[in-house]
C-alpha cells in the first residue's frame, strides 16, 4: 500500500528574529530564514530544487525567493492561500512531491511583516480573509476579525460543554511560561491567572491573552528524502504521517457558525487517517505543537486529535499541569503563537524539529520521540506527525 510514512525528513530549519517591526521586506525575511535552513541541512541554495510557501496575500511569491536563493531549477513550486492550515498543507504536498520523484530538496517557508504591515487583528483584514462574504454579510454587522469569528465558535463550546474562561486562561498561562525560557519568543512577561482574568476583554469570550500575536519574521524548513537526509548535516526528523481535511460546508473564517457543530475542530474529520498512517494512537504522542490562533483553538484540537473526548478539552487543560513541558502532553513548548510568534505553525514545525533533535535546551521534553504539529483555518485544517 502506498504511504508517505517515513519517506521524507526535515533536514534543516531556519528562522529570523521575531519582532514588531523588522525594518525589511518579507522577501528579505524569507531569504534569511531559507538560507539558515539550507545551511543547517549542510546544503547550498543551488542544491534546492523545490520551493513552497503559504501566505494570505501578505507576502512575496516564492519565485522571488527562488531567485535570491540561486535555485538552479524549480521542480516544485507551491503557493498556498489557505490561511493557518497552509504551511502544513504545503509541507505534506512537498513531501509527496519528493516521494514521487518530482523534486529532491524542497525549502518551505512562511515570511510576513504581520505586525508592522497587514495586521490580522485589524479591520482591513476582513476583505483579505473573508472576501465577498465578508464585505457583504460580515462588515455591515461588525463581525470583522478572525478573533470576532473564532470567539463565536468558542461560545458554542462554552454553551455545549461548560468550558470556562479560567480554562482558556490555563492555555495562555502555560504557553507564556514556556516563552519565558525561549530566547526566540516575543512575549516573555510572566502571567498568572489573576493577570489573565484582569486583562482586557476584547471580544467576549476572548481576552487579550487569548489571542495570538502579530509578528514580523520568517521560519523555514528543508525537506528531502529520508535516505538523503541521513547523509546530511543533522539527524533527520522524519514525517511519520500527514493529513488535511475538514467537514461539510466549509468556508473562510467568517463561516464560523456554518459547520454542523462549530464547537468541533476540523481535525475530527481526519485525525483517524493521520494516526493510521503513522501506525500509532494519541497516547504515543510525546508533545503537541498545536495551532493556537486563540487559546480556544488549542482546547478543541486537543479533543479533535483524540487526546480526550469532545467537551473534555477544558478540564484537560485546567490548571495547566497536563500540558506543561513536564506533563503528560506538553503543548506548545515554545510558547506558540500566543507568546512566541505568529507564523501559521511554521514556528511550531521548527520547535518540533528542535525537540526531536533533542536541541530544545531548557524547553526539552524528556525522551521526546514523536511529536504532532497542527495547522488550522477553522473549517479546514492540516497536521503532520514527526519522529526521530
Amino acid at each position: 500500500m502506498k504511504t508517505l510514512k517515513d519517506k521524507v525528513a526535515i533536514a534543516g530549519i531556519g528562522w529570523t528574529p521575531f519582532t514588531k517591526n523588522s525594518g525589511v521586506t518579507d522577501l528579505r525575511l524569507a531569504l534569511e530564514a531559507c538560507k539558515m535552513a539550507i545551511e543547517d541541512a549542510g546544503l547550498k541554495g543551488k542544491d534546492i530544487d523545490g520551493i513552497g510557501s503559504a501566505h494570505g496575500n501578505d507576502s512575496c511569491p516564492p519565485y522571488w525567493v527562488a531567485n535570491g536563493l540561486g535555485m538552479s531549477k524549480i521542480s516544485f513550486n507551491l503557493d498556498n492561500l489557505s490561511g493557518g492550515a497552509g504551511p502544513m498543507v504545503v509541507v505534506q504536498l512537498a513531501a509527496a512531491a519528493i516521494e514521487t520523484g518530482l523534486a529532491k530538496n524542497v525549502v518551505i517557508y512562511r515570511a510576513v511583516n504581520g505586525r508592522s504591515k497587514a495586521r490580522l487583528g485589524q479591520a482591513d483584514s476582513l476583505a483579505q480573509i473573508d472576501g465577498q462574504n465578508g464585505i457583504e454579510f460580515l462588515a455591515p454587522i461588525g463581525l470583522i476579525s478572525p478573533a470576532h469569528q473564532m470567539a463565536l465558535r468558542c461560545r458554542r463550546h462554552m454553551i455545549k460543554y461548560g468550558t470556562t474562561h479560567e480554562q482558556l486562561g490555563a492555555v495562555a498561562i502555560n504557553q507564556r511560561k514556556n516563552a519565558i525560557i525561549n530566547d526566540r519568543a516575543m512575549l516573555r512577561k510572566p502571567m498568572n491567572i489573576d493577570d489573565y482574568m484582569n486583562s482586557r476583554m476584547i471580544v467576549d469570550p476572548f481576552r487579550l491573552p487569548d489571542m495570538c500575536l502579530e509578528s514580523d519574521g520568517a521560519c523555514a524548513v528543508v525537506l528531502t528524502s529520508a535516505e538523503n537526509a541521513r547523509n546530511l548535516r543533522q539527524k533527520p526528523v522524519y514525517i511519520m504521517a500527514a493529513a488535511m481535511g475538514g467537514g461539510p460546508l466549509p468556508g473562510p473564517m467568517g463561516w464560523a457558525n456554518q459547520a454542523p457543530e462549530p464547537a468541533d475542530a476540523a481535525a475530527n474529520y481526519f485525525a483517524d487517517r493521520l494516526y493510521s498512517m503513522a501506525g500509532i494512537t494519541p497516547k504515543d504522542i510525546d508533545f503537541a505543537e498545536i495551532y493556537d490562533c486563540f487559546t480556544f483553538a488549542v482546547i478543541y484540537q486537543i479533543e479533535g486529535y483524540g487526546f480526550c473526548k469532545k467537551g473534555e478539552g477544558g478540564p484537560f487543560v485546567e490548571g495547566g499541569t497536563r500540558i506543561a513541558i513536564g506533563g503528560e502532553l506538553p503543548v506548545n513548548t515554545h510558547g506558540g503563537q500566543l507568546s512566541e510568534g505568529y507564523f501559521w505553525a511554521m514556528n511550531h514545525l521548527v520547535e518540533a524539529t528542535q525537540q526531536l533533535r533533542h536541541q530544545a535546551g531548557e524547553r526539552q521534553v524528556k525522551n521526546a520521540e514523536i511529536g504532532l504539529v497542527t495547522g488550522h483555518t477553522a473549517a479546514v485544517a492540516s497536521a503532520v506527525i514527526l519522529h526521530n
Binding site: N57, G121, Q122, A123, D124, L126, A127, Q128, G131, Q132, N133, I135, E136, F137, L138, A139, P140, I141, G142, L143, I144, S145, H148, A151, L152, R153, R155, R156, I159, R200, M201, I202, V203, D204, P205, P248, L249, G251, W255, A256, N257, Q258, P260, P262
Partner: protein
C-alpha cells in the same frame, strides 16, 4: 473608510460593480458603517429586506435551504434556486460581544453583540446579525428571536434580531 482602499485593491481586477458604500447618499452623513457590497446573485436578498421580508435561498429541485448564498445546492448540485420567504423566527445558536473596538464606525456601539440565529425552518441555516432591545448580558443560548428590519440608508435595510418576550 479603512476597508475601502484595501477592498478596491483586492477586488478591483476581479469584479465589475462599484463599491456601493463609497457612493454619495443623503443619509451617509449619519450612517458610516460599512454597507453590504452585493452581487447580482444576492440582490434579491437585500430587496427582500427592504420590503420587510426575510428571504433564504432554497433549492428548487430538492427544497434544501442554504445560507450564506452560494450558486449551487450542496445537497443535489442543482443551480436552480429561488429566494423563499421564511418565518423570520429562530433561536440564538451562539453570540459574541465586541468590547474593544477595531473599526471607527462601530465606536459608539461598544459593547455590541453579534448573534448567530438558527432559523426554525432548517437546523443548519444560521444567520449572523446584530440584536436589538437586548443587553449583551441578557443573551442566552436558544433564546427565541425574530427578525426586525432596520432601514439604515435609502439603499439598504439590514435584518436584525429582537428577543421574542
Amino acid at each position: 473608510m479603512v476597508a475601502t482602499d484595501h477592498v478596491k485593491n483586492w477586488l478591483g481586477w476581479r469584479f465589475e460593480f462599484e463599491l456601493e458604500s463609497t457612493k454619495e447618499c443623503d443619509n451617509m452623513e449619519t450612517y458610516t458603517k460599512p454597507l453590504p457590497i452585493t452581487t447580482p446573485e444576492t440582490k434579491e436578498f437585500w430587496e427582500g429586506c427592504k420590503r420587510g421580508e426575510l428571504l433564504i435561498q432554497r433549492c428548487k429541485d430538492c427544497g434544501t435551504y442554504r445560507f450564506f448564498p452560494i450558486p449551487m445546492c450542496y445537497n443535489c448540485n442543482s443551480f436552480n434556486s429561488e429566494w423563499a420567504k421564511v418565518s423570520g423566527k429562530g433561536k440564538i445558536h451562539s453570540w459574541v460581544v465586541v468590547t474593544h473596538n477595531i473599526h471607527p464606525a462601530f465606536a459608539n456601539d461598544i459593547p455590541y453583540a453579534v448573534v448567530s440565529v438558527q432559523l426554525d425552518e432548517q437546523e443548519n441555516v444560521r444567520l449572523l446579525g446584530n440584536i436589538v432591545d437586548c443587553r449583551p448580558e441578557e443573551i442566552k443560548p436558544n433564546m427565541p428571536v425574530e427578525v426586525f428590519f432596520d432601514k439604515v440608508t435609502d439603499e439598504f435595510t439590514l435584518p436584525k434580531w429582537k428577543p421574542i418576550r
